[in-house]
Symmetry: D2
């Protein structure tokens, strides 16, 4: 992704990038795509009825990650309260989706990979929140 | 919108709709559209340089409202924690966008209407949060 | 929705609204919400395995409608080619989703209503395309 | 991104990935993020009034790329018509955004990088369309 290269050219950012936030933005876009794939892959499994809750959490997580990635990209100081609230919501969505995917990880490789992506994004959201508090 | 009619046919909801949540979903989709219009209208004003922060908050608010509307639509009990966190984030985004738009309301009619839509959506998010706590 | 009221205050639009496009924008946001509900309602049905294709088309249609609504809202002359291409894609997504939902309409009330919403949005997209050609 | 790894585990795809489509999905998510950054960076420039059309095209391109990436991820045969229409719309949005960004590329580094990302995504959309025709 071009996230780091692009954000470093932002007139308000030059020479003062927040690496934790940039990493989090990349994780959010990645996790949105991963969860969208996992939902569709779950829909393709013969035992789809057992994966209904997983599909719902995948879709919620994809929507929250996409919005969080966009809001965090639009970094501009005075909307810090929105970024913080979205990072909090995103960490929650990622945690719940990871827990559900982990329950299916031995059966479905897409759930195993998706759980890892969600845990990684949850962690990146928490580190980005910390980076904004000082 | 078909929100109420559609949600009342959901197999998990039948005969037990949460009116505050359904109203909130309608407000979220409406506010997303209103903020997207306000951002574009601000971009068309001769004094666009004075409206930069308004445009950014419009875009953040539109993204958060759209995601909140989708997540709240996908109501399914076990993702209540995600809905709650998004309602909280959405109330914050709406409040900040309303405050900024109110500062331009006497100059720009689109900011006046957008501020009202944001206050209305903020209120609907708070009532939906309350409706989910009992 | 505030679409008509808001767009009429846009500095580039004042006194010269395109009613077919405004109606289409409202239909797009409505159809996005309706399809998101139908996908979740289908996931809640005991025979979910028979509704997999319906769920996928619901999700595609919701994504395309949401993007089309936003792009059409951001009306500004020089992006007409993007609006046109999205109206075309949206009419296609709505038609395919409607056809699939119609096949389940006698069994599932949410599919019946969703099919109607998709047909209505498809029609609005076609009329908006015509309104932009003269 | 996990796109390739995830899609290769999809039950309908196993052992038969469409590399051009997967590359296109990655480009769409990347371009959505890049255009969102470019819009915000343009809003931060002192000469924002000269960049209004660039900001609008950035936002349109971001919305279209995000929807195209999601729809293309939800690959399932029978929605090929939707994927095709969205790839067409996405190539158009990327081309127009690239042309506008190129006009500012010598003045603004973010526009130069964004133009490259848009050209790359446009190219990936066209190759994905070709890959689906045989």
């Amino acid at each position: 992704m071009h996230a780091r290269e692009m954000i470093s050219t932002h007139p308000h950012v030059r020479g003062n990038t927040n690496d934790a936030l940039i990493h989090c933005i990349e994780e959010c876009y990645d996790c949105a795509q991963t969860c969208t794939t996992c939902a569709d892959a779950c829909l393709g499994e013969p035992m789809v009825a057992e994966l209904v809750q997983c599909i719902r959490l995948n879709m919620d997580c994809a929507d929250v990650c996409a919005a969080t990635g966009a809001v965090a990209t639009r970094r501009s100081g005075s909307n810090e309260a929105v970024i913080r609230a979205m990072l909090e919501a995103c960490a929650t969505a990622c945690r719940l989706c990871a827990e559900e995917c982990e329950a299916h990880a031995t059966m479905h490789e897409h759930c195993r990979i998706c759980a890892e992506a969600c845990r990684s994004c949850e962690d990146a959201c928490r580190k980005a929140m910390q980076s904004m508090s000082h």
